[in-house]
Symmetry: C2
Subunit: 86 residues, 2 copies
Amino acid sequence: MNWINYIGIFAGVLTTVSFIPQVIKVWRFKSAKDLSAWWLLIFFIGVSSWLVYGFLIIDFPIVIANAATIFLLIFIIIAKIIYRNN
Amino acid sequence: MNWINYIGIFAGVLTTVSFIPQVIKVWRFKSAKDLSAWWLLIFFIGVSSWLVYGFLIIDFPIVIANAATIFLLIFIIIAKIIYRNN
């Protein structure tokens, strides 16, 4: 693994970890009205496609980052559905 | 360009285009309170790192997707700052 891989991992960790405060926020305040349902839907399909792409080009940072992002995104999508009337 | 590149471009187009309805939503409703400032900050640094990574591994879909995402993200961050008291 060379230094370029570490930049990829750094990027993947940040874009993934960034969703943790967003997950906490929607669940804590029981509100997700400012989050666009279209953003969530299209972003979810997009991140899933990145995961497939990562597997195909056998790129470790892309696979891990997008798998973890999908995991966190599911919590935001569930909050958006549960609190849709808040 | 092979078919794997097209999956990467498809993924990049989706994760990038997904931010368009989110930009429209925050500006239209003049509210971004449900968006985590930490998410925006960390995600912005992360996407910028992906852009650098894309340049380093000379990966066309990663560069274009992340450059466009940064562009859209700036509009959301500006809305978050302007409407922070809404």
